[in-house]
Amino acid sequence: MAEQRYALERLYEDQEPDLVTDTIPAVLAWLGATGEGPALSFSVRIGAKPPKEETLRLDCDERALESRCNGTLDRVRRMQSRQTADREHITELAAYGLALVGLSVWMPGRRAITFREGLPPDILLDDTDGALRGVEVAGRSSGGHGALRFVLEGTKDKPGGKRGQLVERSDIAEAHVSLWCAAPRVSLLVQVKP
């Protein structure tokens, strides 16, 4: 199985720093990464027919991250203190950060230009009118590949999933789905369009 190694602080170079700063603390808080511990490993399933399995080893050097953005570790601690009723935002933000990592590792040279809240895809790579390109993102705390598959394809009660939403949009020329699960640490990266 191929292995990709990525130092989280590299994200500040591979993507717009303005779009990275707020996602890093969430990645660290969500994955419980502390100190200079061993790299975090994700088993990543790429594509669909047939999927390719790779390992992503994520190095989270807190000192390097703090030197890129002061206050990062304080923010991690606040997120981990569990004094907020809006915990789901940590999962979403962490998934955004990991999606940016996925973009930098498997689509080198492509950069996010903005984030969206109201209509997919969440991350825009190109906003050419009528031919958008982007990445739809989601995170799950648990459930592994099964849970991610539901997000991608939908369920019996709610068919379509993220793939369906993106495929039926004629204003999107290229769409990827980037899904992340914290326990077990697995990911699913699929190009659903074209």
Partner: protein, 333 residues
């Protein structure tokens, strides 16, 4: 190739949305309000991104409207969503082929009913506030209104207009410091709203030390002199200037500026409106004050405000009553 102004506006919008989410994720007692401020700024950046396009397609207009509305929903601002955000989504949808619009709106169409339900619940729990707003939000709101305003703001901390109303209710309840804080909360959410700017200016003389208050007015006056200030800003300026003139060595200068502000406000108010008559009365009253005379209540009759004059006691300071009437925050129904 994306035009540079659009690229920058999109980047700013993206950054603000992520910062808002991070604020919510970090939590804290004021996190929802602070996140709302960031989402409001993101909505404005989205608007700038749209304006940077030379001739946006109907789909681009709809996408922008959806994104702005989503930011306002996530920014806990019911008035902005219900008065303009959702309206923009519906209007821009009509120019896009039905199936395409439905696909684009899938997410916002799920968000909207949940938001609407939360709003209806919050309004149902605020009967006194409802009655007060229907009466035009007169000064001296009862205690129950104060409680309901606070409760409403807990659910919708991004509701700029309700923060402004809270400021007004604090002020008439005698708490100028809290009134000042509340109007600043409203202004952080909607920095360009003329009625908030006017109300804040009105509070300057009550909240700040005299020298600081005079400096603030000196900073606001050039916009009035250029004829670019709104009637609300002129109204706030007049009240603050009249307040300060009473205890300032710069009395004549301040009254002169207030006189000019009254002329400007009258010019911008719709013709034959009560507002125009009120500003004209203030202009004539200030002219009297500048000449060292006490403004007579007959000015109100001369300006077509006889019904108002008839209900005032002879000894009343009619200038203050009239100026307060011009700067009253009018709540939405």
């Amino acid at each position: 190739m994306i035009p540079a102004p659009r690229r920058l506006a999109l980047l700013e919008a993206g950054k603000l949305k992520l910062a808002a989410r991070a604020t919510l994720a970090e939590g804290g007692p004021d996190a929802r309000y602070e996140a709302a401020v960031l989402y409001h700024a993101a909505a404005r950046a989205e608007q700038r991104a749209l304006l940077a396009l030379e001739s946006p397609s109907p789909e681009a207009r709809l996408a922008s409207a959806i994104e702005r509305c989503a930011c306002l929903i996530l920014g806990f601002d019911a008035s902005a969503v219900l008065d303009s955000g959702w309206a923009d989504v519906l209007v821009t949808s009509t120019a896009v082929e039905e199936k395409k619009a439905a696909a684009m709106r899938a997410r916002i169409d799920e968000m909207m009913p949940i938001f609407l339900e939360r709003y209806q619940e919050a309004r149902a729990r605020a009967p006194a506030l409802d009655a007060w707003t229907k009466a035009g939000g007169p000064p001296g709101a009862p205690r129950s209104v104060h409680r309901e305003l606070d409760r409403f703001l807990k659910v919708f901390p991004g509701e700029a207009f309700v923060w402004a109303l809270r400021s007004s209710s604090y002020f008439y309840g005698g708490d100028v410091d809290a009134a000042w804080d509340s109007i600043h909360r409203a202004l952080k959410l909607s920095p360009q709203e003329p009625s908030f700017l006017g109300w804040e200016l009105q509070l300057v003389s009550k909240h700040l030390p005299r020298a600081q208050a005079e400096t603030r007015l000196a900073g606001a006056y050039p916009e009035i002199e250029r004829g670019e200030a709104s009637a609300e800003v002129c109204g706030g300026f007049i009240i603050a200037a009249m307040d300060l003139a009473a205890k300032s060595p710069r009395r004549v200068e301040l009254l002169g500026q207030a006189f000019h502000a009254a002329m400007e406000a009258g010019r911008t108010a719709p013709s034959q409106s009560e507002a125009r008559r009120l500003y004209r009365a203030m202009e004539l009253g200030l002219r009297e004050m500048l000449a060292g005379r006490r403004p007579e209540i007959s000015i109100l009759y001369r300006c077509g405000l006889g019904r108002l004059a008839a209900t005032m006691p002879q000894e009343a300071d009619w200038m203050r009553i009239v100026s307060a009437r011009t700067t009253q925050l009018r709540p939405a129904a």
